[in-house]
Amino acid sequence: MQLRTAQRRSVFVNGERTETGASSLGELVTQLGHEQDAVATAVNGEFVPRPSRAATPLSEDDRVEIVAPRQGG
């Protein structure tokens, strides 16, 4: 069985291609220096709630959105 953590993949984070060794969305969020509670996430256009991040695997070319509160009208 292959070790998932050893595998590096290329995903899009907020539109930018990013190389990562993270095997899950939760790991990616931490590796990018975010507090889990400070951001919200989506993968390939679908919202991923906080409790599901750790169990959400990442695949090559996945499109990840990591967002936070901002000014709005």
């Binding site: 984070v13 907020n14 539109g15 990018l32 220096g33 975010h34 507090e35 400070a38 951001v39 919200a40 996430t41 989506a42 256009g45 679908e46 919202f47 709630p49 906080r50 959105e65 990591i66 967002v67 936070a68 509160p69 901002r70 000014q71 709005g72 009208g73």
Partner: protein, 273 residues
């Protein structure tokens, strides 16, 4: 019809989805010259709700947390938007991210159909509103003055509608007062908030005099030379317009009618009549 025969308009505070809000002014938090100016304007306006958004966060950035701390310090109810979304799918995912971040199921739903007019895509709006309402959201759809779209949005589960005054950021005021008036008359008991396009306090007062329940503003306040004073000016105009509506405006007429009594007018004799 004289004033006594007219039904007195509802003088109760504004209630949205069963929640009483403290003011009929909803204020956006974008485009102010500084975070301090934004906070001061919200306080000066006595805004009942402030709108916010979600945007991409940079790696190792904490812009979002700093901004949210500022908003929490205002103690004002927060309503996130789905600004910039062009499809129901984008709007639904954005609304869900916003619900998690801000801890509220209130959502100002925008599905934009045209880049130049920032006009709502009414078809996508109805679709997204239905999906979000089924998911437990309290949806505040940014819509046009279109009556059929309004009916569809209510059918989809919306209990509040936010028709535009004019396209976002134009400051043109009520572009189609006839249609807005019709909408108001057609849905007498649905909370209707005029959202977008207002530039001057007189625009807000005009909408409130028509019987609209509230006003959503951003650019007109944020880009004023003095946003804090402009926030206060809008708050006064909204209050004046609402009070006028509750007081019952006189009917317009074509011919003049003297306000000073005619009886007893000096020098009134047969020669003049």
């Amino acid at each position: 019809m004289n004033a006594m025969e007219r039904a007195p308009p509802d003088a109760k505070p504004l209630t949205l989805y069963g929640t009483e809000v403290s003011s009929r002014l909803l204020l956006g938090t974008a485009r102010y010259p500084s975070p301090q100016a934004m906070s001061d304007a919200v306080r000066a306006a006595g805004a009942g709700i402030v709108t916010v958004s979600v945007r991409r966060e940079q790696a190792r950035g904490n812009t979002g947390s700093r901004f949210f701390d500022l908003i929490k310090a205002l103690g004002t109810r927060v309503m996130p938007n789905t600004a910039g979304c062009r499809t129901p799918k984008e709007a639904i995912a954005t609304a869900r991210m916003a619900r998690e971040l801000f801890g509220t199921d209130w959502i100002k739903l925008e599905v934009i159909g045209n880049d130049d007019t920032l006009q709502p895509d009414l078809f996508g709006l109805v679709e997204a509103a239905g999906a979000l309402a089924r998911d437990g959201f309290k949806v505040f759809p940014y819509t046009t003055e279109d009556l059929v779209a309004a009916e569809r949005l209510l059918g989809a589960g919306c209990e509040v509608l936010m028709p535009w005054g004019a396209p976002i950021g134009t400051g043109r005021g009520l572009a189609n007062p006839y249609a807005l008036r019709s909408l108001r008359q057609y849905f007498p008991s649905v909370p209707l908030i005029v959202d977008a396009g207002l530039g001057a306090p007189s625009h807000a007062a005009a909408a409130m005099e028509m019987g609209f329940d509230g006003i959503m503003l951003n650019t007109a306040v944020a880009t004023a030379a003095d946003p804090v004073r402009m926030a206060r000016a809008f708050a006064q105009a909204i209050e004046a317009g609402r009070t006028a509506y509750e007081a019952g405006l006189m009917e317009m007429r074509d011919m003049a009618a003297p306000s000073t009594p005619v009886a007893g007018t000096p020098f009134f004799d047969l020669e003049r009549s």
